[in-house]
Amino acid sequence: MIDFVFAQVENLQDAASAEGQVLDSVILGEQFYFFTVVLMWLIHVGFMSYEAGVVRRKNVLATAMKNILTIAVVTPTFYYVGWWVYNCNQPGLPIGPNSSDFTSAACQGGIPWSDAFGPNLTNNINLIFFLAFLLFSWTTASIMSGACLERIRLSAYLLLAALLGSVVWILDAAWGWSAGGWLTLRFGFHDAIASGVVHGVAGAFALGVVFNLGPRIGKYTREGLARQFRPQNLHVTLLGLMLLFTGFYGFYAACLVISSTAFPGWANIYLSPTTLGSITMIITFGFAGGFTGGYFASRGDPFWTVSGGLAGVIGVSAGADVYAPTLGYLLAMATAALTVYAGNWIEKKMRVDDVVGAVAVHGFAGFLGLLWVGIFAAGYPTGLNNVDSSIGGQLMGMATFLPLGFLSGFVASLILKKLNLLRVPPEVELAGLDVAEYTEDLYMPDHAKATEMMIEPDGTFVISEVVLADADREVVR
């Protein structure tokens, strides 16, 4: 017994040693990221419910399956490609005077056969940090998913998801979302919780895809006026968004670096100091401001009120590590209000059929968030070179990310379109993807199917079958 007590005392002395403290700190970090990963799963539960609620009944199963299979595809592709892209491309492209050094130790740590990419007794952090980034990757793909609902092929979506989730977004993260990225080192680019890096780029990518994908059959009248498809279950959509918001707290937390042996214990992705409380305040005030802005700008529309909350948070994410709560609240309100107008403009003026408003909510609000930092949070030293954040640095980031996201989405979807692999045949779209892809209706046979209705541009309700049959005759096959 006495030996046991001495052993415990010895352990306590070990724990108090510098080496013991470092080990404690590492294990604390490992646990921290683990719980952020668990929490971030709710983002995908949310995306699934959100999208399955907003589509028509005939596409519910296909929509949910698309969200689930995102995980099946982006996980291995990000493992084999994505982490290498992030770790090896921070200085820039493999050309020019500041090209990436692919032989550096940091780069080697990102290759899939690295000794740090499996159980390793000397490295507790690499795998769990990789997993946090993986969950960000799923998020980028799910953002694009919402824009393409009800007519994209599952396989086309999965290929595009792999490209966006495992190459495109993580390349911009290497450049502008790391302490050693070239945008950070040279321009002080500041996007602490990924307004542009995740949301802006994914929104731009989605815009490139929906340009090639085209609108759903019957979405626009011959005169180009937008009709509305009635969501099959708006309650599920709102529930999905609330789940997504819960997961966002994990997303926010995972964007920080934790080190209990260094004051103040927390740093943003650029290794500048912040605190967990600071960013949690901003996300919460972001929701408050976003809901308010969305509600009034949309005149109380439930979908845009809740989407406004999302847009509000995205709009304040870039500066969440330094914003005052009041500034976060006001900027979120403004972002959400502007996003509602942007969403309507994209749908009605650009005639882009983005089913959940992803281009506006993620793309527009994301890039606006970058701009807000340049205007309201300039002068914060960022990255290893401690270059001040500035409007110029933010504009440089926007000028890099916008074409990167849009062009990659546009070109990849154009290739699929040329191969006739992008969109389901019109017969399938009209009948519904569930019957064609999964040979069954979501609901039991005795669950009566209500007549599908649409809303004309003038607000009148009409039976969809008539409108869609008319629109189908104009589809070029």
Binding site: Q8, T103, S114, N123, L158, A436
Partner: protein, 109 residues
Amino acid sequence: MPGIIDSSPSCVTNNEGMKPPDDSADFILQANYQDCAGFMTFGPGSTYGEEGTGAETAYMILTWLGIVVTVLVLLAWVVYENRRLIEYSVRGRLGRGEEPPPQPGIARE
């Protein structure tokens, strides 16, 4: 010894019947793993050294196998879905008395 494949790296010492730990403070059985770092199945059992290069051949092959399978799965998804959609589309057109367009991979009567 394992019945089929011994995938543990050489840093792991296999000595069954070794003396158990002295007390509960030694609850992690470290002795057999004390020379290990990256001890995953087919892994190197160590760190790769200063430059971080030099993966074990078996681990490299395993990783490339995973990459190839991932690519094949993506291609299979495209082909499989394409066939299902075309079949459904053709059935729909035949049901309406229309002549279906010629499609690759679909046998015509």
